[in-house]
Symmetry: C2
Subunit: 235 residues, 2 copies
């Protein structure tokens, strides 16, 4: 088995209990080692399909590094991106042994890969670990609810603005109002339930209005935080 980077996998989440705040590394070093002991270390290039919707859900994954999209293809041929997944996120929990979404890498990605059966067995014997996974999935549920709120908006401008804010909050790296947009416009559009033209137009309007400024196509800086937040909140 390959060597594990750092101190092993982690699960970023905000617990539901009182007295804790902001993002928390859920796992103790003991728990990280425990997961590491049942996980395999795998790497993927960008654009690689990790698994396909409906296929046999053998593995659960935790991201060590990189970005993954979870998506679903609809009968019409449209594609819905259900979530963008970052470091310390978990994915691959299916339904009745089958994946409900497809998963594909966006950047080069490093994953911890565990057999569902092995993970299940481990969780059934370690209450603390199972509880941390519960916190993590609850955290993902909240993320999904936020996504629903974004998608339910009618105006493209507001959706795109909320999306940028989401990326900003997510990337621990975002310094001095610089937001990295690691995915393509098409992926963003599929996440937001918009056409890519609408995404492009909304970004253009934000730029022309002096609210944001592009630094290359994959990086934006927020110039007018007041108006930025006003648009995001005006739903």
């Amino acid at each position: 088995m390959a060597e594990f980077v750092g101190s092993g996998p982690s699960l970023r989440a905000i617990p539901f209990g009182p007295g804790m705040r902001d993002a928390v590394e859920l796992l103790s070093s003991r728990q990280r080692l425990q997961i590491a002991s049942i996980a395999t270390f795998v790497q993927f290039p960008p654009g690689k399909l990790v698994y396909r919707e409906g296929s046999n859900a053998q593995f659960v994954f935790i991201i060590a590094k990189g970005i993954v999209k979870s998506f679903r293809d609809l009968p019409s041929g449209k594609r819905r991106v259900m979530a963008f997944l970052f470091a310390d996120d978990m994915f691959g929990l299916g339904q009745s042994g089958h994946y409900v979404n497809s998963a594909q890498t966006i950047t080069p990605v490093t994953l911890y890969r565990m057999r569902v059966t092995t993970l299940t067995e481990t969780l059934r014997h370690d209450a603390d670990l199972a509880f941390q996974f519960l916190c993590k999935v609850t955290h993902e549920l909240r993320g999904s609810l936020r996504h629903t709120v974004i998608v339910a908006r009618r105006d493209a401008l507001g959706r795109v603005t909320m999306f940028l804010r989401l990326l900003e909050q997510n990337s621990h790296l975002s310094q001095d109002s610089k937001i990295v947009v690691p995915m393509s416009r098409v992926d963003a559009a599929n996440y937001l339930g918009l056409s890519l033209e609408a995404v492009s137009r909304a970004l253009s309007r934000l730029e022309r209005s002096g609210i944001i400024a592009f630094e290359g196509r994959r990086s934006v800086r927020v110039l007018d935080r007041i108006r930025f937040e006003r648009i995001a909140a005006a739903l």
Copy 2:
């Protein structure tokens, strides 16, 4: 403490592991008794606010009977219904000790109420129970993803049709294509991200097209299953 009905609380969900299918009662009778031992039995009339968004998240709830809506009020005054909750559903898992949504009863409701601290303590000492809660939250996460797919559609007709299908799958009682719609048009509209006029028009169109027939305002029968499913799938 009041007496508990039946065999105690349950958690309906579809596990992610292999070899299981369809809705499953997650909890063993031992686990039900364990939850019952830390839960209080509470009843609410229709339209009663169970808790308010942002307030202190002291309790977690499991529904024994009745229907609850979980919603969020937006700055504009609009209301987003994030989920309708039915028997054996759990709700009240907040963030950092605060509820992220408000919860309100729709029908008369009977709830199992547990202190978060007590539940947490229990889960930390019972790996099997924690694992079942994990399955349940995973199940709710899938429900939220379905919701996102529905809301991301542009056409009101399709959204309303998918909503009816959702209700049909959810209500264990739905016999011979009769679907009970227990919530108001406004609640449905807030769930679907539509105006109530749009919901009303969509239902009217479905009825005029001969696809559904109303039996009172809160009950519909699917007459043309083929076209019904075609509309639901045509996104």
